[in-house]
Amino acid sequence: MRWIRRNLVVIAGLLTLAYMILPNLVVMAFSFNKPKGRFNYSWQEFSLDAWKDPCGVADMCESLSLSLQLAAWATVGAVVLGTMIAFALVRYRFRARGAINSLIFLPMAMPEVVMAASLLTLFLNMGIELGFWTVLIAHIMFCLSFVVTAVKARVMSMDPRLEEAARDLYAGPAQTFLRVTLPIAAPGIAAGALLAFALSFDDFIITNFNAGSTVTFPMFVWGSAQRGTPVQINVIGTAMFALAVLVVVAGQIITNRRKKTATA
């Protein structure tokens, strides 16, 4: 009993972790499956077939590449615009600042499916051809709120005296921004960028409404699920998961090492 009471926090933590990771483990395990039919829903036998030929399914790798490009561009667009908006909202006093401050949250609060339908209406009425560009515009739009929120939190905790100190020490506006403002705001910007990339890569509803004939990876998975699920989907999922874990772990190691050299 005493042992349980002492380790209650650890136990609860491990259980939560298991709850979160279990679905990912299933995805991983089934990437090594060799299904009998067209559906990869029951375990048959261990096989490396799918890993050996990840692009073996028609059109899948094309959709993956499109999704990665979309996510990359959406991230760039949202980070550039979002960072500028965040700085403007924190640093400057201007008319309608309060309104913008709350309106920026609107895309987060709005039901996604409603926004998707409205966007489609908008694009159709403006006579814009659906495809890569409409999807990109939509992605930048909904990623923006997340980037602004992440960067704003960081900028608010920044001491404006640091930039004054830089200007006082012979750094012009560009130098001040590059040497002082940007490095200090970087963690917030990085967090915003990661969020934006994940959200864009993941998005199905808004994309599905506005993509026209282009097919992103989530749309491909959805489409193929009607007719059968190729094991390669699990391969891609596992690879993405491994990549994300790698990035997080590498980041942690770098910060730890920096701290160590600083104290040494």
Partner: protein, 392 residues
């Protein structure tokens, strides 16, 4: 520090900081009223005043971080009013130090040199680290240093650029009392060593007096008085200066005789007569007019009423009753109520203590008339008195 002339020496017309008619308003609020100020080259100059008096704004206008609403800033002969901060040969030590958190101490100190395109900074950085005695902390990050150490890095980061003027914005405000005293001496030592003009903003009158050659006392966006610390202390020109710098006893009096030809002015207060040297009155006195008579607490001697006969002739006298006394160690502070004025302060050195001087005792306060000063009666007698809220 031997090559400082390389930067400061190119001003044959002298390196004084001259502010002419400079002011700053934010909307309808005027932070600094038009003021003229000259800071002599190589001096340690203090801008002293309570918070909100415009001293920091004045400093920021010299740095270029604030645009003056009117007026001109000269460095030597050069008008720098329209130059951005990064083009002025002036550096600032900020109140919160504003060290760059993502750079180590070396990079913080080298920042100014690097921005001016100087490649080999190691020698100069090492010299600076030595000057501020932080050689072993070169690769530390700012957050790993104590407040006093961060403060020294901020000084080094500014000084390495050999500015014509070093601006210090309450640099010791965040330190505890003991460290503050230590850093005061340290800064004074550094200033003497490098010979650069220091302009120091502070609300601590003791700090201003110990460190500065010249002090400008500011109040409500104006310079009340400018002078050497001893001069300000001995000859305050306004009630604000008299009360803000140390403590003053100010007594309302009526002029009986205006002194002519350098003789004393004779005044009456609470039935007694007092003498004030004519040249120590700030405003023109006329017979029957009012004047504020001032004397510092430590200039006053306290004698028990029974011994009043032993007091030498020619001294100013005020009779009263001790209301309160507190033993400080080197001195005893008395509060005396008298017909001339309530709550007069007297500091007596603890050399031969008269045991009869206890609360309730009838006493005579007496002092050399030469230590008396006269102020214009048409001003707030309590201006500059530290109230409880300010003292926190």
């Amino acid at each position: 520090m031997t090559d400082k002339t390389a930067h400061t020496g190119k001003n044959p017309g002298g390196g004084d900081v001259r502010l002419t008619g400079i002011s700053k308003s934010y909307g309808s609020f005027t932070a600094v009223h038009p003021l003229d100020l000259t800071v002599p080259q190589g001096s340690f100059f203090a801008l002293l005043g309570a918070s909100g008096c415009g001293k920091t704004t004045t400093l920021r206008m010299i740095a270029g971080l604030e645009d003056p609403s009117t007026g001109t800033v000269f460095l030597g002969d050069k008008d720098v009013t329209d130059l951005p901060p990064y083009k002025r040969p002036v550096n600032t030590v900020f109140q919160s130090y504003a060290l760059f958190p993502h750079m180590d101490i070396t990079e913080n100190i080298a920042f100014g040199l690097r921005r001016r395109g100087i490649k080999s900074v190691k020698k100069q950085v090492d010299d600076m680290l030595e000057l501020v005695q932080l050689g072993d902390k070169a690769r530390h990050k700012p957050h790993q240093l104590s407040g006093g150490q961060q403060q020294r890095v901020a000084v080094a980061r500014a000084l390495i650029n050999h500015p014509q003027v070093l601006l210090l914005d309450e640099p010791l405000g965040a330190l505890d009392l003991k460290l503050r005293r230590q850093m005061q001496l340290e800064l004074k030592r550094i200033q003497t060593e490098v010979g650069i003009t220091f302009v120091h903003v502070t609300h601590d009158q003791e700090e201003a007096m110990t460190m500065a050659d010249q002090v400008a006392v500011m109040n409500g966006g104006r310079v009340e008085q400018l002078g050497a610390p001893a001069d300000l202390y001995e000859n305050p020109q306004t009630t604000f200066v008299a009360n803000f710098l140390g403590t003053s006893n100010l007594i309302e009096a009526e002029v009986l005789e205006t002194g002519s030809g350098g003789s004393d002015v004779l005044v009456t207060a609470g039935g007694g007569k007092l003498r004030v040297p004519g040249d120590r009155c700030t405003s023109a006195v006329r017979q029957g007019g009012k004047v504020l008579v001032g004397v510092r607490p430590e200039k006053i001697s306290l004698t028990h009423k029974d011994d009043a006969g032993s007091i030498a002739d020619g001294r100013n006298r005020v009779t009263g009753r001790i209301a309160d006394s507190s033993f400080i160690g080197v001195s005893t502070q008395y509060v005396v109520n008298s017909p001339a004025g309530a709550e007069l302060q007297v500091y007596e050195q603890n050399i031969e203590r008269d045991t009869r001087l206890v609360p309730g005792a009838e006493v005579v306060l007496h002092w050399n008339p030469a230590h008396t000063f006269g102020l214009d009666a048409a001003q707030d007698i309590d201006a500059g008195v530290e109230t409880v809220e300010d003292a926190g």
